[in-house]
Amino acid sequence: MTSIVRLSCIATVALVLGAAASLCARAQTESHPDAAHGDQMHGGTLYGQVLVEQLEYRWKDGHDVTAWDAQAWYGGDYEKLRLKTEGNLRSPQRVNDAEAQLLYSRLVGYYWDLQAGVRHDFRPKPSRSYAVIGLQGLAPGYFEVDASTFVSQDGDLSARLKADYDLLITQRLILQPKMEINVAARDVPELHTAAGLNDIELGLRLRYEFAREFAPYVGVNWKRNLGETAQLVRRSGDDPDEVAGLVGVRFWF
């Protein structure tokens, strides 16, 4: 059973990445016929990118985790189709999370994209779907910010804020603090979440950019469930306070 789940998760991720890669390939071939017809580009060309921000192995006594966080997009300067996915596989086989978002993304200000679309959580079971509205961009202070609100198929409202910062130690050695918080408007017992602040997660990753496109890293990740949610998690047999050392790779193409 668990191996099937794991396989299907890997397959999902592979599918997502594959689709994005093919979009990318199209972007590159499409820039040529355009020029061959006498009309120059000078804006309006389509591009695409797959960015695997995190693909990492986390050590935590008893059950190690493989986690990922990736985005892919395809589009022009103003409008993009954006795919986000994140999740983790636990070992030994316990609960795992896997979600994907498909979003329409539009530039609304110098630094900000407004995004709307759907999210589907493949895990935990039963899978569920959400509507998403979010804002992604660069906040004053050079913080990369991704803020989303979700409404589930059952009408549950929740929100998530992610922020990270690249602190350059040298041109290639980069320390990245990262923060994530989740809040919910209502209790959702089957997800072990309660109304209010659910959890806070802090990460610190030190990466070395061998190339802009390829950077392995080491780091630590700390996650703590809060309030009611902590109780629910503890009752489910999980630890509401987790610290993990990690090693991983950031890459894009």
């Binding site: 972007a27 590159q28 820039s31 040529h32 020029a35 061959a36 017809h37 006498g38 009309d39 120059q40 580009m41 000078h42 804006g43 309006g44 060309t45 591009y47 990118q49 300067d77 103003y78 530039l107 609304v108 200000g109 110098y110 630094y111 660069l138 906040a139 004053p140 202070g141 050079y142 602190l167 350059l168 130690i169 040298t170 041109q171 802009r212 894009w252």
Partner: protein, 599 residues
């Protein structure tokens, strides 16, 4: 004694003495150019370049003023191509910009296209592809036009110095990298290591405050150039290959500098030699001796030098971002090598370079229908400590005593930003009452701070005085606002908040004098190039303001440029940084007869 006598004496002298460094196509009035992909090896790796007649740069075309020129261009590439005659006055049909020039749709693979036009000017110019990314792949070459009358200066030797930047990377890959991550090529970002150094120099508090200020603005003061990894070339030769120009001590040598780089500005100097600038963009100027000059992309400058010693002089063109030199040597004999000094510090942007993002000022845009900024083209300027005193509609410019305009910005920038109110070429600011400007920090739109030692003379546009004025000094019939805009985080570039593909043409009436009021709201230099007509930057020299085809607009500055609309048809108008043009910083300018304009 007569003028004719003088002229013939001069011609004789020139004919004897003129030596050209690159192969030329001489004499005939018909010229053949073949465009094809060839393998070149600049850095040690074989790469495919797009070449004219198999040369990098292409062959020098030597025209005569008044001559009727026929050029056959054969396309042996696998894609459409074009040749644009940069700076030449000719009918729109002959200008060679696919999709813009009247009736010109490009030259298809296998096709031979014939250009035919009369040469109406003299001086140093160049030609290049205006299609796809062929120019940065090697498709550029010089044009030298011999004047009908004698030249107002004398020289014994004549060399073309084509400056360019070569990268082994595929240009399409560069565009994509910039779109995906605009900081891709910046290897000089501010780091923790820099921070501790700065903190040591000016104190922890000041260093922190400075970081916070730039961070709050979400701007990077190290963003001097978009693309790096270049090898800088002189006449196609890398610094290691050392282009050599020979002289006999005491001879006057004419150097025709052409900046054919895709993205690189150069600071040009010959240590221990004065250079006397005699032409700018092909037009004679009153001779001005300088120690150094900054050449913007696509500009040309002709200088005279007179090396008197029997030694090698280094001809140095240091890239503005200080990542390299284009280097050659002036030498009395082959095989001599001049010294290369260490790089001077890479500049940092200051608060003075910070854009004045006032948004539209309400002036004419020159477009048939009103245009508003598309979202994301203008950075918000809500950072603390910045006080843009000038309200949006007030015009945001400030006419100085010498007639040039400056940004009416009143930044009370924090002291830590380090903007000092120095005019690096103070000597040319004679007669200016600095106190009357009353700005704590501002960008002098004309001075070039190259890091030259105190007392060294660095050329500024103010020093350029046309030797003979082609046009009267008169007030323009109307003022058209050209805000240089864009998004450095997404790498798209625009004018008045519109990329080329979403903008209307700027429509000018034939015969009118138009003033383009450039307002650079970005933090980068933009060498703005208008095809088919001269640009007269208003630098304070009245009827003797220089006559140019490229005018550099410095970051965060404003400059008025007058354009006598004396050429009918459709013309390209764009930033000559090729990846800025590629990313949208271009417009079509249409000059119509009054009757047609009223339709």
């Amino acid at each position: 004694m007569s003028a004719k006598h003088i002229a013939s004496a001069w011609v004789a002298r020139l004919a004897l003495a003129t030596i050209v460094s690159a192969p030329t196509i001489a004499g005939a009035e018909t010229y053949d150019l073949v465009l094809e992909n060839k393998t070149v090896n600049i850095t040690g790796k074989d790469r495919t370049a797009t070449l004219i007649n198999g040369q990098l740069p292409g062959p020098v075309l030597r025209f005569k003023e008044g001559e009727n020129v026929t050029v056959h261009v054969t396309n042996r590439l696998k894609e459409e191509t074009s040749i644009h005659w940069h700076g030449l006055l000719l009918p729109s049909e002959q200008d060679g910009v696919p999709g813009v020039s009247n009736g010109f749709r490009g030259i298809l693979p296998g096709e031979t296209y014939t250009y035919n036009f009369q040469i109406k000017q003299a001086g140093t110019y160049w030609y290049h592809s205006h299609s796809a990314t062929q120019e940065q792949s090697g498709m550029y070459a010089p044009i030298i036009i011999e004047p009908k009358n004698r030249e107002p200066f004398r020289y014994d030797r004549d060399y073309v110095v084509v400056l360019s930047d070569w990268t082994d990377e595929n240009p399409d890959g560069i565009v994509r990298n910039l779109k995906l991550y605009p900081g891709y090529y910046n290897e000089h970002k501010r780091t923790l290591v820099n921070f501790f150094r700065e903190a040591g120099e000016k104190g922890l508090g000041a260093a922190l405050k400075d970081r916070k200020m730039w961070g709050d603005m979400r701007m990077d003061p190290t963003d001097i150039a978009d693309v790096a990894g270049y090898t800088f070339l002189i006449n196609g030769k890398s610094p290691a290959d050392n282009f050599t120009a020979l002289f006999k001590p005491g001879e006057r040598v004419r150097l025709r500098f052409i900046n054919s780089a895709a993205m690189s500005y150069f600071d040009v100097r010959i240590p221990s030699l004065k250079m006397t600038v005699v032409q700018a963009d092909g037009n004679n100027v009153q001779p001005i001796p300088v120690d150094e000059l900054r050449i913007a992309v696509a500009e040309t400058y002709d200088v005279l030098v007179q090396p008197r010693e029997d030694k090698a002089y280094s001809l140095l063109a240091e890239s503005m971002d200080r990542t390299g030199f284009a280097r050659g040597t002036l030498a009395p004999r082959e095989g001599m090598v001049g010294e290369i000094p260490p790089h001077r510090p890479r500049p940092l942007l200051t608060m003075a370079d910070m854009g004045m993002s006032f948004g539209p000022t309400g002036l004419d845009r020159g477009t048939p229908h009103p245009e508003t900024d598309a979202p994301g083209h203008v950075a918000p300027m809500d950072m603390e400590g910045m006080d843009h005193g000038a309200p949006q509609a007030s015009g945001a410019t400030h006419t100085m005593p010498d007639g040039s305009t400056m940004a009416g910005m009143s930044h009370d920038a924090p002291a830590s930003a380090g903007p000092t109110h120095t005019m690096p070429d103070g000597s040319t600011m004679t007669g200016m009452d600095h106190s009357a400007m009353g700005h704590g920090a501002m960008a002098d739109p004309l001075a070039n701070d190259t890091g030259a030692p105190p007392g060294a003379k660095v050329l500024s546009y103010r020093d350029l005085k046309a030797l003979s004025s082609l046009y009267d000094a008169r007030e323009p019939d109307r003022i058209i606002e050209v805000r240089l805009t864009g998004n450095m985080e997404r790498f798209f570039w625009s004018m008045n908040g519109r990329m080329y593909n979403e903008a209307q043409p700027i429509v000018l009436r034939y015969g009118e004098r138009v003033r383009f009021r450039f307002i650079n709201e970005t933090m980068m230099n933009h060498p703005m190039h208008l095809h088919g007509m001269w640009m007269l930057p208003r630098v304070g020299n009245g009827a003797r303001d220089p006559i140019k085809h490229v005018v550099n607009i410095k970051p965060g500055s404003s400059l008025d440029v007058d354009i006598p609309a004396d050429a009918e048809g459709n013309w390209a108008f764009h930033c000559h940084l090729l990846y800025h043009m590629e990313a949208g910083m271009m417009r079509k300018v249409t000059v119509v007869r009054e009757a047609a304009a009223n339709d």
